[in-house]
Amino acid sequence: MSMKIEKIVGPAIPLRGDDIDTDRIIPARFLRCVTFDTLGPHAFEDDRKQDPDHVFNQEKFQNAEVLFAGNNFGCGSSREHAPQSLQKWGIKAVVGLSFAEIFFGNCNAMGIPCAKVTPEDLETLYKVAESDPTVEFTVDVDTLTVSWNGGRVNAEIPAGVRDTFLQGTWNATAVLQQAEGDIQAVANALPYINNFQ
């Protein structure tokens, strides 16, 4: 069993823009590694170099634990290096308009809740974080809300995925293993497994 994840509390970093792909989150040259441990400092490295004002460069956001993002966040490559670099950087939850599916699946498997909010609510969240980087946000997986001192918006996480956080089954290996006998039975019933002999 993995750890139960009910809520994440912490300051947020407001990253504006749609279709931010995994090549931008972690450029391919940093994939030359056999562990994920060293990826944190390289999150958004190329974007940061080209834009000194990039939010990930700004001192005031360095303690952030929640990432606010736009539409189709994490599109592109399946590289888990992308959410791994964010996690190593300090991010524990992502709140955005929508997520690319493989990225979403990777985050789920790593215990990073990705919650969707409406465009109006995201704008509110962006503004609160931008005007005061010390504000603590609570991403509540149970009540499906994002709240802060005086404010609260609804968030959306698909029911099944939400359950895996609440029950501590997001690391699927142990859960999948439980069906040991059934796995073998399904495999045996597939004619291609024995090359149609």
Binding site: D21, D23, A28, R29, R32, V34, F36, A100, Y192
Partner: protein, 466 residues
């Protein structure tokens, strides 16, 4: 009500419904490579677990492999370390590895079909998003991340939510100079880069039925660029003819049994889809991307959009793209100057792609301002190309003929753009920095268009080459 191929394959591979509502799906073929699996093997070691189905797992090395010299140890010591890690893991767990020494190495999505590993009705997973390629055979194939790779290694299964199915139908004959890549870029242009989120794409209609397997692979490869979780084409005689005689495909009576099984997985005539879109092949022209995602494209005869004519989010994203690409609104696509051209990748690095490009290169010369590179998708593709003399054609025309690998598709090896070079590429992604330089620029197009543009030294229309 009839069933789709996805319904049938999903049903046969479902071990159980998980408490989360997801399905526990058995994965019939697991392909691995050097970049995304070493960490998964490390996780396995931590859990003290063996690989559950080593004989359903196949490995190769492609992403990090240099294309000028593949002598070991590799010059890049980090690359060497990754290659060694994969080799050791495969040895330890009895996994078949197509490495450099085997002379069978290549891009993972090229060698799966080439060896006959990829077959209709399978579930396939691989730690690379373009795993959707294998759907061309009527398989359900997912790109996954490293934690998921750990799950498949340890249990042979994935926890997955079943996608909806959108039938993407294209009818009619393609016009001369229009290729599978153009069809893929056209569909993504129409439906957008996130149009496919939540869906599997079933490609149907006479245009796909008339395609060769290699063309179908190109189309399914690009499914992920449209946001779809996977894409597939129902298996038919073209599929079976391609598979017959390949190394991992059964022979004789077993082959007949296989064909029956493969056929039984195709979508029923009365299958219902969650959505259907229909396009006309005659409307499709050679496509070129001008932006920083694969939906930002135009027919080659067209021009770059002008942000001034757009509003809201679209205006912002087009303006951002044009700034990065150093292109101006209303600029003609044709004539955009180039520095580098690249023919290769799992999208367009197969023999038929090289043949088409060579035909255009034959008797012509690459423009002086352009460095043109051809990277075969696998050692086998390279062997066949050499047997046909394609390497000579390319070299005589001034293209560099390289060794097999992913190369400038993602530029993890030494093949990289420098500074803000502009590259016409037959690969699949034009993201910022994708081809190795943080400011490098990529224009996606078919291999035929890349070849024609290499000769012209700027974006050219392959139909107008003299």
């Amino acid at each position: 009500m009839g069933k789709t191929l996805l319904d049938k394959v999903w049903e046969k591979h479902t071990v159980r419904e998980l408490p989360s509502g997801q399905s526990q799906l058995f994965i019939g073929l697991h392909l691995i490579h050097e970049v995304t699996s070493p960490q998964a093997f490390a996780m396995l070691k931590e859990l003290n677990l063996p690989v559950k189905f080593p004989n359903r797992t196949f490995a190769t090395m492609d992403h990090i492999i240099p294309t000028q010299s593949q002598a070991r140890p590799l010059v890049d010591s980090l690359a060497e370390e990754m290659v060694v890690a994969l080799t050791e893991s495969c040895k330890e767990h009895n996994i078949t590895l197509y490495d450099l020494e085997s002379k069978q190495q290549g891009v993972v999505h090229i060698i799966g079909p080439e060896k006959g590993l990829t077959q209709p009705g399978m579930t396939i997973a691989c730690g690379d998003s373009h795993t959707s390629t294998h759907g061309a055979f009527g398989a359900i194939a997912f790109g996954i991340g490293t934690s998921n790779i750990r799950d498949v290694l340890a249990t042979g299964c994935l926890a997955m939510s079943k996608p909806k199915v959108r039938q993407v139908r294209v009818e009619g004959e393609l016009k001369p100079g229009v290729y599978a890549k153009d069809v893929a870029l056209y569909i993504i242009h129409k439906l957008g880069v996130k149009g496919g989120v939540g869906y599997a794409y079933e490609y149907a209609g006479s245009t796909f039925e008339n395609m060769t397997m290699e063309e179908r692979l190109t189309v399914c490869n690009m499914s992920i660029e449209g946001g779809a979780r996977c894409g597939y084409i129902n298996p038919d005689q073209v599929t079976f003819d391609y598979l017959k005689g390949r190394e991992m495909v059964p022979e004789g009576e077993a082959f007949e049994r296989a064909v029956e099984y493969w056929k039984s997985n195709a979508s029923d005539d009365d299958a219902e889809f969650d959505d259907v879109v229909v396009y006309n092949a005659q409307d499709i022209e050679p496509m070129v991307t001008w932006g920083i995602n694969p939906a930002q494209s135009s027919p080659v005869s067209g021009h770059v959009p002008n942000p001034e004519n757009l509003e809201g989010a679209e205006q912002t994203s087009v303006a951002e793209a044009l700034e990065y690409m150093q292109l101006s609104g209303d600029q003609d696509i044709k004539g955009i100057p180039l520095d580098v051209t690249f023919i290769g990748s799992c999208t367009n690095g197969r023999l038929s792609d090289l043949r088409i490009a060579a035909e255009i290169a034959k008797g012509r010369k690459v423009a002086e301002n352009v460095q043109a590179i051809v990277v075969p998708g696998s050692m086998e593709v390279a062997r066949q190309a050499v047997a046909e003399g394609l390497d000579k054609v390319f070299k005589e025309a001034g293209f560099e003929w390289r060794l097999a690998g992913c190369s400038m598709c993602l530029a993890m090896n030494p093949d990289k753009l420098q500074g803000d070079q502009m590259c016409a590429s037959s690969s699949n992604r034009n993201f910022k920095g994708r081809q190795g330089s943080p400011t490098g620029r990529t224009l996606l197009m078919s291999p035929a268009m890349v070849a024609a543009s290499s000769i012209a030294g700027k974006v050219a229309d392959v139909r107008e080459l003299d």
